[in-house]
C-alpha cells in the first residue's frame, strides 16, 4: 500500500517542509483520516459532487475522431463538463469540506492555468471561506479570464513576481503564506504534489474519475479499455483516472508537455527528462541543473508548466506501471484543433496534450481496441492563446 505511514511511495514523497508547518500537516493527516472514516463526510462530498459539480460526467465515444484516425476507438471522459470547467473541482470540494470540518476560516491556493484557482475560489464562495489565490505574473497575463473569474467569486488574487513567475513560484509563495498563517489557514493544494498527506488526499478526491470510468467502460465498451491516456503536469487528473486501473491489464499513459521539443531545453517533461530531487515538500522527479537549482519549465499550457510532478507518478514510472511520454506545444495545438473541428469540443490546452498523443496511438491500433482519454478541462480559458498562434 502506498503511501506508507511516513507518506512515502517507495522512496518518493515525504515531508520536506519548514518545521513551522509540520504540526499542521499532522493535524491535516488526522482530520483527513477522521473524515475518510465518516459516513456523513462521504455523504456530503457525494452530494456536492453530484448536485453542485455535475457528476457523474459522461464517457463519450468520439466517433468522428475515431473514423478520421481509422484506428482504435477513442472515448472521452468528460471532466470538461464539470462546474468551473475542469476536474479540479473534485478536489476543491473535498478539501473545502475538510477545511470546514477543521474549523478553518481561510483558504489559500496556488494556481497555474487558473483552473485550480477558480475551483478554489468557487468552493470558498460556496462555503463562506475567505480566499486568497497566488498566481505567477506570467500566468496572470496568459490566463486573464480566470483571474477575472476568481475576483468575481470574491477571492483575492495575489501576483507572484519571483522566479519564472509561473506555477512553481506561485506554489513557493503559497507555501510562504501558509508558513506565516498556518494557525488559521487551510492550504488547498491543487495537484497530487506537495508534502504528505497532500498527494494522497488529492489523489483520493480525484479517484472518482477512475471509479466512474471503470463502471462506464463496462457499460459502453463492454470491457475495460485497452489504454487510458491523461496529461500530466503535477498529475492530478492522471492519478485520478489511473488509480482504479492500476491492478488491471490496462495500458496507462501519462502525457507530459514537451514544449518546444525535448531536445530544446524548453519543456516541462519532468518524468521523461528530469532527475530525482526535493521540491515543494516532496521527493520526486524534478527539472534541475547540475547544481540542484530548479529548472524553468516551458509549456504553452500554463497548467503543465511545472518543473515537478507528484511523487506517486515518480513511483509508478520507476515501477514500470505507467508509461510517460511527451507531446510538443505544436502537437497539442493540433490536438486542440482536431477535437474542435471533428467533435465540437474545445479541450483545455493541458488536455489537448492527451488528445494529441491518443490520436497518434489510435492510428497504430485496430478498431477493436479502445482508448479512453481523460478530457480534464475545457478550452475556453485558452482561447486568447490559441487565437494568437493558430
Amino acid at each position: 500500500m502506498v503511501p506508507d505511514k511516513r507518506g512515502y511511495y517507495n522512496g518518493f514523497g515525504g515531508k520536506f517542509v519548514p518545521e513551522t508547518v509540520m504540526a499542521a500537516l499532522s493535524e491535516l493527516e488526522k482530520a483527513y483520516a477522521d473524515a475518510r472514516a465518516s459516513a456523513s463526510f462521504k455523504k456530503q462530498l457525494n452530494y456536492y459532487l453530484k448536485e453542485y459539480a455535475g457528476r457523474p460526467t459522461g464517457l463519450y465515444f468520439a466517433e468522428r475522431l475515431t473514423d478520421k484516425l481509422r484506428g482504435a476507438r477513442i472515448y472521452l471522459k468528460r471532466e470538461d463538463l464539470l462546474h468551473t470547467g475542469a476536474h479540479k473541482i473534485n478536489n476543491t470540494i473535498g478539501q473545502a469540506l475538510l477545511a470546514v470540518r477543521m474549523g478553518k476560516k481561510k483558504v489559500i491556493a496556488e494556481t497555474g492555468a487558473g483552473q485550480h484557482g477558480v475551483a478554489t475560489a468557487t468552493v470558498a464562495a460556496l462555503f463562506g471561506l475567505k480566499c486568497e489565490i497566488f498566481m505567477g505574473d506570467e500566468d496572470i497575463k496568459r490566463q486573464a479570464i480566470n483571474v477575472f473569474k476568481m475576483r468575481i467569486l470574491g477571492a483575492k488574487v495575489t501576483a507572484v513576481h519571483s522566479g519564472s513567475k509561473t506555477l512553481k513560484d506561485a506554489m513557493n509563495e503559497a507555501m510562504r503564506n501558509w508558513v506565516t498563517n498556518v494557525r488559521d489557514t487551510y492550504y488547498v493544494i491543487g495537484s497530487v504534489a506537495g508534502p504528505h498527506p497532500y498527494p494522497m488526499i488529492v489523489r483520493d478526491f480525484q479517484t472518482v474519475i477512475g471509479r466512474e470510468t471503470r463502471r462506464q467502460a463496462m457499460e459502453k465498451i463492454g470491457s475495460l479499455p485497452d489504454c487510458i491516456v491523461a496529461c500530466v503536469g503535477g498529475g492530478s487528473n492522471a492519478m485520478g483516472i489511473f488509480y482504479s486501473f492500476l491492478k488491471d491489464k490496462v495500458k496507462l499513459i501519462g502525457v507530459e508537455a514537451a514544449g518546444l521539443g525535448l531536445g530544446t531545453g524548453h519543456h516541462a517533461a519532468t518524468l521523461c527528462r528530469g532527475s530525482v530531487g526535493a521540491l515543494h515538500g516532496s521527493m520526486s522527479y524534478i527539472l534541475q541543473d547540475r547544481d540542484g537549482q530548479i529548472g524553468i519549465a516551458h509549456s504553452i499550457s500554463a497548467g503543465l508548466d511545472y518543473p515537478g510532478v507528484g511523487p506517486e507518478h515518480a513511483y509508478l514510472r520507476d515501477a514500470g506501471r505507467v508509461s510517460y511520454v511527451a507531446v510538443t506545444d505544436k502537437e497539442a495545438l493540433d490536438g486542440f484543433r482536431m477535437l474542435a473541428e471533428l467533435e465540437g469540443i474545445m479541450p483545455a490546452l493541458e488536455s489537448s496534450h492527451a488528445i494529441a498523443y491518443a490520436a497518434r496511438l489510435a492510428k497504430r491500433l485496430r478498431r477493436t481496441k479502445s482508448i479512453i482519454v481523460c478530457l480534464s478541462g475545457r478550452g475556453d480559458k485558452d482561447i486568447d492563446i490559441v487565437r494568437n498562434v493558430l
Binding site: 511516513r6 515525504g14 515531508k15 520536506f16 517542509v17 519548514p18 518545521e19 513551522t20 508547518v21 509540520m22 504540526a23 499542521a24 519571483s162 522566479g163 512553481k168 513560484d169 513557493n172 507555501m175 510562504r176 508558513v179 506565516t180 498563517n181 498556518v182 494557525r183 530531487g277 526535493a278 521540491l279 515543494h280 515538500g281 524534478i286 534541475q288 547540475r290 547544481d291 540542484g292 537549482q293 530548479i294
Partner: protein, 263 residues
C-alpha cells in the same frame, strides 16, 4: 570538540551570549562574502551562518530571496563556496554553519557534500526544509565527518516534536522566533519567552534564536532569554543596498554584538 562547541563553551565560561550573523554566500560576490565575513568577525560575531543560494527558498522572505537571486545570477555554486570557505579558514577560526535547502546538497551527493564540508572547514549545517524525521540520511553522512546537524524548532512545534528536535540537534538548536518566513520585523513574537524557557527546560544544548530579530534592542531582549541571537535579513539588507558595504555592515554588526554580549 568542534569549533561550535568550543565557541559555545568559551562564551558560557564568560557568561556571554552568542551573536550569529547570517549572510548569503555570493551576494554581491564571493570575494565580498569573504571580506564581509572577516568584517563581521572583527565586529564581534561569534558564529557565521552562510546561506547557500537556492532558486526556490520557501522559508525565506523577500530580502533573502533577492540576495539568493543576485548570488545565483553571479554564478555562485557550492563548489565555489567551498573554495571561498577554505580561503577563509586560513585567516579565521570562527565557526561556520551552512544554511542550505535540501535539493542542492542532495544533488551534490550527501556523502560528497559532508566530506567537502569537513575538508573546507564547515562546522555545521542547517536545512530549513528538512524536518528531523526526514534527516536520517543527512545525519548518517554528517556525523562521521564531524559536521553538526542543527534543526529548527518553531512556535507551532508541539512539545513532543521539540524533544525530538533537541535530541537530533548537534551544536545548537535553532529556535524560529515567529510563525513565518525570514525577514526583519518590528516586533518580537509575544510567546517567545515561555517557548524558549520550555526548550531550555528539556535540554542542555544551546538554544539560538533567529527569524525577525533586526535591531539591537530586540537582540538584547533575546540574548536575555536564549544562548544566542541570529540576525540575518537586517544584515543582508545592508549588503543589498550596496553602499559602503563593509563599514555599514561593521557598524551594524558592532551594535548588535554590544547588545548581545552586554557591557
Amino acid at each position: 570538540m568542534n569549533r561550535i562547541d568550543k565557541k559555545v563553551r568559551a562564551l558560557r565560561a564568560r557568561r556571554k551570549k552568542a551573536f550569529i550573523a547570517y549572510i548569503t554566500a555570493g551576494d554581491p560576490s564571493l570575494l565580498m562574502t569573504g571580506r564581509i565575513a572577516m568584517a563581521l568577525e572583527d565586529a564581534g560575531v561569534d558564529i557565521l551562518e552562510l546561506g547557500i543560494p537556492f532558486s526556490d527558498p520557501i522559508a525565506d522572505g523577500p530580502t533573502i530571496q533577492e540576495a539568493s537571486g543576485r548570488a545565483l545570477k553571479g554564478g555562485v555554486t557550492l563548489h565555489k563556496i567551498f573554495n571561498m570557505v577554505k580561503g577563509l579558514r586560513k585567516k579565521s577560526e570562527m565557526p561556520i554553519v551552512f544554511m542550505t535547502y535540501y535539493n542542492p546538497i542532495l544533488r551534490y551527493g550527501l556523502s560528497e557534500f559532508f566530506k567537502k564540508c569537513r575538508d573546507a572547514g564547515v562546522d555545521g549545517v542547517i536545512v530549513p526544509d528538512l524536518p528531523c524525521e526526514e534527516a536520517s540520511e543527512v545525519k548518517r553522512y554528517a556525523r562521521p565527518n564531524g559536521i553538526d546537524t542543527i534543526f529548527l524548532a518553531a512556535p507551532t512545534s508541539p512539545s513532543g516534536r521539540i524533544r525530538q528536535i533537541a535530541l537530533s540537534s548537534r551544536g545548537f538548536i535553532y529556535y524560529v522566533s515567529l510563525t513565518g518566513v525570514t525577514g526583519a520585523r518590528r516586533d518580537l513574537a509575544a510567546d517567545i519567552a515561555p517557548k524558549i524557557r520550555f526548550i531550555k527546560s528539556i535540554t542542555d544544548k544551546p538554544v539560538m534564536v533567529g527569524f525577525g530579530v533586526s535591531n539591537a534592542k530586540q537582540a538584547a531582549r533575546v540574548a536575555g532569554l536564549a544562548d544566542g541571537v541570529i540576525v540575518g535579513s537586517a544584515i543582508v539588507k545592508i549588503i543589498g543596498a550596496k553602499k559602503n558595504i563593509l563599514p555599514a555592515v561593521s557598524r551594524f554588526a558592532g551594535s548588535i554584538a554590544r547588545a548581545v554580549h552586554g557591557g
